[in-house]
Amino acid sequence: MAIKGVLHRLAFVDLNTGTVTYEDPGDELYEKYLGGYGLGAYMLYTRQKPGLDALAPEAMLGLLTGPLTGTDAITGNRFIAVGKSPKTGTWGDANCGGYFGPALKEAGLDGVFFTGAAKDPVYVLVQNGEVTVECAADYWGLDSVETEAKFQAAYGKRARVACIGPSGERVSALAAIINDGGRAAGRSGLGMVMGSKKLKAVVAVPSSPVEVADADALKAVRQRVLGEYYKAGNPAYELFSSYGTCGITAGSVQKGDAPIKNWSGTVHDFPTAEKISDDAVIATQTRKYGCWRCPLACGGHVKVAEGAYEVEGHKPEYETLAAFGAMCLNDNLASITVCNDICNRMGMDTISAGCTVAFAIECYERGIITKEDTGGLELTWGNHEAIVKVTEQMGDGTGFGGIVLGDGIKTAVGRIGPEAEVAAMHCAGEELPMHDPRCSPGIGASFVIDATPGRHTQYGSWLDEAAFLPPDLGQPLHADKYVYNGKGENGAYVSRWGHVVNASGLCMFGCTVTPAPAVPEFLTHAMGVEYTMDKVQEVGGRIGALRMAFNIREGVRNPLDFKLPRRVLGDPPLEQGDTAGVTVDNIVEIKDYCAAMGWDPETGVPSRETLEGYDLGFVAKDLHG
């Protein structure tokens, strides 16, 4: 019986020659790896030559859906970009919602992989399961909104587009892959990889709905779970449906989850966070936006007209509000909305861009860079005009912003000089997201131990600490978040769960509201293969081990070699605020986590037994001979 919920069709596009081949990965791979970065990790591990430069033409870039993408499973709308990260030299992935994922599946593909690099800009058109490589000369240079509009004029309104903007075209390390004019697969620098291949866009023209094994049963689970969503007083539902992530900004600043002043400040340095949070943001919202068939609809379109700032675009997310706001001591919401729009249009990751601006401000305030270096920009804390200007420069590749900051913090340190290291808050080259280990110490472990360093969409014990776990996950809370011993089991359980969420094509936010056992039910009815919570743990463990093995084979990975800046861990500790006096020991948890995952606590290498237990004998052979 062929597994359902998937199309049994992956496309492999060689951009050197324009040739396309198709493969059915087969039931076994779908069952074991699902899709998204599960199947993606399998394909890259088995097909990409180890040690390749992430920007080498032979390097693979994949855009994959999951078996729940485009189905009745609630928030089944994600696609995931996969590849080796040019920022960290590790495994890279970036997850995104909107409408592109379902459209790709309805156009007849579970995913598409690219190797090679086109001589001249191209785009790839997917319709009726067929892929063609087309000339993108008319699209190169357009921003992401213009690109999508032009493709929809050519292929109809139902066509969905994942593209790079001018930032990706310049092969900038800040580049993201953008769809729906402002949903971003932003992390890991995969927009940079796409740009290096001169691939402007993937255009999916949907035609056939996704067939699942038992449509009625899947619908019934959806209806039952929606009943849970709509139960009075569900805070996660209230948060996402009424506000979206902007609803947590002021609270996160208050309790120390949002890093402030480039990780050196507290709420006392930024007492006006309400001006860039919840009701203030919603006051600019003109209409709500939801990803494909999402009942939460946490996104929105906003309009601001305030002084020099006039913009209509996507509502800034919490990460963006914190990066361009709290991190820069900027409480001017209109300016942040403009920066968000610049990033979306130019195709830049808002986390990396905002953090890079905060880094530059600290360098300026310390006198490491001067007004002469910045071309006259006064990069002082809270100077929103300079923040907008430097973001524009990062987007169009000009001036100090483009030339010095345009590839993120790590590269900027190389361009400014070693004295800038003091302000460089990143992990292995990835700018850190807006969750502070001093508030949720588990994320200090997750930033380092996940195969993609410096990420907040990777699950671990911190989700427990941040009250961001789904109901009925069945893993007890760890009693005291600042007691570092004994967190490994909890973190391992939660991270294995998260790998399945991500590989299935579900949204992390939706899965905070959806009772956990509904996820294996969704998989069972979509795919026609029984999944249980235990099987979820097994599949998640397999995916986690394979992602980690990818890094080890690249020769870049002992998790203990990746260091977080001491400041981020509270060394020295903050003197004020709710996390005053906290210094985090993430190493104890990392070792504990590795042991719980069946990985060597000193090196992160999955043991032979662990790998063989997950049917990863081919990996065991590579790692252990």
Binding site: Y243, D279, F468
Partner: protein
């Protein structure tokens, strides 16, 4: 004694969408009780079955956590501001 209590965004449907509620009381606990008196639907959200502040809630008095002071017994002064924050922190 009047203080301002900022309620979490996701509770504001119980306060007529107002972010700030003016409350009377000599302590944090009394001020919060006055908020519940004005908006009874907040009661089960603020307090657990045991009558203690619900798990996962933090309360800040003029930006400092009341757990670093005297909890709900912490005295308040006119013009003080209280902020109730839920633990939820993703996004």
């Amino acid at each position: 004694m009047s203080v301002t209590v900022r309620v979490p965004p996701y509770w504001r449907r119980h306060t007529g969408r107002r972010a700030d509620v003016s409350a009377e009381g000599a302590t944090v606990g009394e001020a919060l009780a006055d908020v519940v008196r004005q908006h009874p639907e907040l009661g089960p959200l603020l307090y657990g079955d045991d009558g203690e502040l619900a798990a996962g809630l933090s309360v800040f008095l003029n930006r400092e956590s009341i757990t670093r002071r005297d909890g709900e017994r912490t005295p308040v002064s006119p013009g003080d501001s209280l902020m109730v924050v839920l633990a939820i922190a993703g996004g």
